[in-house]
C-alpha cells in the first residue's frame, strides 16, 4: 500500500478511506465506542468520577498481562480486571455512606495495586507482550467483524441499562441524600454504575487503548457540560463531540504516521479548552450588563 496523502478534496479523501475493509471496521467500532463513551462519560463527569474512570481504564493493563500469563483469552482478562476494579472501588466507596467523597483514596489504592499486579504478570510472563503500546494508545488496524459485533452487543447492553435507570441515577448522582430519603438504593446505583463503566471500558479499550477510552470518556462530556446546563442537550452534545473527535481522529490518523490516540486525545483536549473558554466568555458577557445597573434589588 503506498502512503496515503491527505488532499483538499474531502470527498476523494473519504472515498479513499472507505475502500479498505479494515478502515470501515475501524469507523464502525469507533462510532459505537464514541456513542457509548459520550453517554457513560456524561454520567462520569456529572458524578465527578473521572479518577475512578481513569483507574478502571488502567486496569486493562493487569487484565491483558494477567490473561497472557494464565493463557486465557485477552478479552476475558479485560472484562475480569475492569469488573473487579469496579467492584473494589464501589465497595470501598459505598462503605462510607457519605457518598463518593471518600472514594478517591480508595480509587488510588486500587489503581496502584492493579498496576503493580500488571507489572508482576508482565515480568512473570516469559513471552513478549508486544501490544503494550497498543494497550495504552490503541490501534485501528486489524479490527475484525466479530469485534465490531461484540462491541455493538456491549453497547446495546450498556445503553439499555442506562436507559432503564437514567432518571433515578441522575437524582442519586446530583443529590444522594435526597435520593436516599426517597427510598432509592443509592449504594446499589453507585456499584451498578461502576460496573456499567467497567463494561464500557473493557469493551472499548481492547480496540482503542486505555488512554483513548479515558480521553473519550471525559473530554467530550466535560466540554458539553461546560456549554449548557440543560441535561438533555448536554448529553446529546457529549455524544456529538465524541463522534466528531473519533471520526476526525480516525480520518486524519489514516493519512498520518502518528497514532490514533494522539489525535483523538488532542482533539478532545482542544474541544474542552474551547468549551471552557466559551463558557467563561458567556458568563462574563452576562455579568457585565448587570453590573451597570444602578442598584441591585434586594433579594
Amino acid at each position: 500500500m503506498n502512503n496515503p496523502t491527505l488532499t483538499w478534496n474531502l470527498v476523494k479523501d473519504v472515498h479513499e478511506l472507505l475502500v479498505y475493509q479494515f478502515m470501515v471496521n475501524a469507523l464502525q467500532a469507533g462510532t459505537i465506542v464514541a456513542v457509548m463513551a459520550g453517554v457513560v462519560g456524561w454520567f462520569v463527569v456529572l458524578r465527578r468520577q473521572s479518577f475512578a474512570a481513569h483507574t478502571t481504564a488502567m486496569m486493562s493493563f493487569p487484565g491483558a498481562s494477567g490473561a497472557a500469563l494464565a493463557g486465557l483469552p485477552t478479552a476475558l482478562g479485560y472484562y475480569l480486571a475492569c469488573g473487579i476494579a469496579a467492584l473494589a472501588i464501589g465497595r470501598s466507596g459505598g462503605a462510607s455512606r457519605r457518598g463518593r467523597s471518600g472514594e478517591s483514596a480508595a480509587v488510588g489504592v486500587v489503581q496502584v495495586a492493579g498496576l503493580a499486579l500488571g507489572f508482576l504478570f508482565l515480568s512473570l510472563y516469559s513471552g513478549v507482550l508486544e501490544q503494550l503500546e497498543t494497550l495504552l494508545f490503541g490501534t485501528f488496524l486489524g479490527i475484525d467483524g466479530n469485534q465490531v459485533l461484540t462491541l455493538a452487543i456491549v453497547a446495546v447492553v450498556v445503553l439499555a441499562a442506562l436507559l432503564a435507570i437514567g432518571r433515578p441515577l441522575l437524582l442519586s448522582s446530583l443529590d444522594p441524600e435526597a435520593a436516599r430519603a426517597r427510598g432509592l438504593p443509592v449504594g446499589l446505583f453507585d456499584v451498578g454504575f461502576l460496573l456499567i463503566l467497567g463494561l464500557t471500558v473493557a469493551a472499548t479499550s481492547q480496540i482503542t487503548g486505555a488512554l483513548l477510552v479515558f480521553a473519550l470518556l471525559v473530554a467530550p462530556p466535560a466540554a458539553a457540560q461546560a456549554l449548557t446546563p440543560r441535561p438533555g442537550l448536554s448529553l446529546a452534545l457529549s455524544v456529538v463531540f465524541a463522534l466528531l473527535v473519533t471520526w476526525l481522529g480516525l480520518g486524519i490518523s489514516y493519512f498520518s504516521i502518528y497514532p490514533l490516540g494522539f489525535f483523538v486525545t488532542s482533539f478532545g483536549f482542544a474541544l474542552y479548552v474551547a468549551a471552557k473558554l466559551a463558557h467563561r466568555t458567556a458568563a462574563a458577557l452576562r455579568r457585565s450588563p448587570r453590573a451597570d445597573e444602578p442598584m441591585a434589588a434586594t433579594v
Binding site: 457519605r98 432503564a164 432518571r167 433515578p168 446530583l174 441524600e177 426517597r182 427510598g183 434586594t298
Partner: protein, 302 residues
C-alpha cells in the same frame, strides 16, 4: 421582598405536646411517644414526646450532636426506633415518605453542578421513577398530558418560592440564598404534607436567613404543611415560629419559644446551669450550654 409580618409567637396560645388548640382539629402529622433513636448501637435520644400538626412551623434546636438530624431521619424511618413510637401521618415511620418533602443538610451537595435549577426541581417530582428524563420522544398522547402537567407543576412551585427569575440558570451561578430556594422548591414539588428542612439557613447571610424563614412560614400557612426546620440559631426564626423542639442531653422539650428557651428549662435539660439572656431587640442568647461531648458522641454517621 415584602416585609415579613411581625407576629410574635407570644400572642399564640402556648401549646404543650398534648393536642393543640381548636385551630387545627386535625390529627398531628408527626407524633412521637416515648420514642428513642439508636444509631450504630448507641442511643442518641430517648423518652421523646412531641407532635407537629399540619400548618405548624416548628424549629428543631440543640447543640451539635444532640440528634437534630437524627430526629428527621427517625421520622423518615431511616434510623432504628421503638416500634409504634413514631407515627407519621397516621402510619409508621417510613410508610408515608412520599408525603414528606425532605431537604437534607447541605454537605455533599455540589453547588457547581452544571444543571439548571428547574432540572433539580423536576427531579424532585419524578426523579425516583425509572426511565430517562428526556424532554423529547415518548410522544404518546397520555404521557404528553402528564408531561405538560409536570412542567406546569414545576413552574408553579418555582413561582411559589420566588425563583422564577433564575430557575433556568445553572446552579453553580446562583447565590446561596437562590440555591436554597431552588432546593426548597424541589422538596415542595410533590405537594408534601410534611416539609423537613435540615439547616437550610446555614451558610446564608442575615437578610437571606430572614427571607427564607419568611418564605417557609408562608408556605407552611398557605399549603397547610407541617414544617420541621433544623437550625443552629433560633434568632432568625423567632418571629415566624409556632413552636420549638429543643434537643439536649439525650432528651427533648417541645413548646412555644418563650416556654422552652428559658434558664430553668434548659438547665434541667442539659443538667448544668444555663442562662438565657434576651437582648433589647428581642434576640435570645443561650449561655453556658456544654457542647457535644455531653451527648453520646453522636456525629454524622460514618
Amino acid at each position: 421582598m415584602d416585609a415579613p409580618p411581625r407576629s410574635r409567637p407570644a400572642n399564640r396560645t402556648p401549646t404543650t405536646h398534648s393536642t393543640p388548640s381548636a385551630s387545627s382539629a386535625s390529627t398531628p402529622a408527626i407524633e412521637l411517644r416515648d420514642a428513642y433513636a439508636a444509631m450504630g448501637g448507641r442511643t442518641v435520644w430517648s423518652g421523646v414526646d412531641l407532635s407537629v400538626c399540619p400548618g405548624e412551623f416548628v424549629a428543631v434546636l440543640g447543640s451539635n450532636g444532640s440528634g437534630k438530624s437524627t430526629l428527621l431521619k427517625a421520622i423518615l424511618g431511616l434510623v432504628q426506633t421503638a416500634p409504634g413510637a413514631v407515627s407519621v401521618l397516621g402510619g409508621p415511620a417510613g410508610a408515608a415518605n412520599r408525603e414528606i418533602g425532605y431537604l437534607p443538610q447541605r454537605h455533599g451537595f455540589d453547588s457547581t453542578l452544571p444543571i439548571r435549577g428547574v432540572d433539580l426541581v423536576r427531579l424532585g417530582l419524578d426523579g425516583a421513577r425509572w426511565g430517562v428524563p428526556l424532554p423529547f420522544g415518548r410522544g404518546g398522547s397520555g404521557r404528553r398530558g402528564a408531561r405538560t402537567r409536570s412542567r406546569e407543576r414545576v413552574r408553579e412551585v418555582i413561582e411559589l418560592v420566588g425563583a422564577s427569575a433564575y430557575a433556568e440558570r445553572s446552579l453553580g451561578e446562583l447565590s446561596g440564598g437562590e440555591q436554597q430556594r431552588i432546593l426548597i422548591a424541589q422538596a415542595l414539588v410533590r405537594r408534601p404534607r410534611i416539609l423537613m428542612l435540615d439547616e437550610p439557613l446555614d451558610s446564608l447571610d442575615l437578610p437571606n436567613q430572614a427571607a427564607v424563614s419568611a418564605l417557609v412560614q408562608r408556605i407552611c400557612r398557605t399549603e397547610n404543611v407541617a414544617v420541621l426546620l433544623v437550625a443552629h440559631d433560633v434568632n432568625p426564626l423567632l418571629s415566624y415560629l409556632d413552636q420549638v423542639i429543643y434537643l439536649a442531653g439525650g432528651r427533648a422539650l417541645q413548646g412555644a419559644v418563650q416556654d422552652v428557651i428559658t434558664g430553668p428549662k434548659l438547665s434541667e435539660l442539659y443538667g448544668v446551669e444555663i442562662e438565657v439572656l434576651r437582648t433589647r431587640d428581642g434576640r435570645l442568647v443561650v449561655v453556658g450550654q456544654p457542647e457535644a461531648p455531653h451527648v453520646h458522641g453522636h456525629r454524622h454517621e460514618q
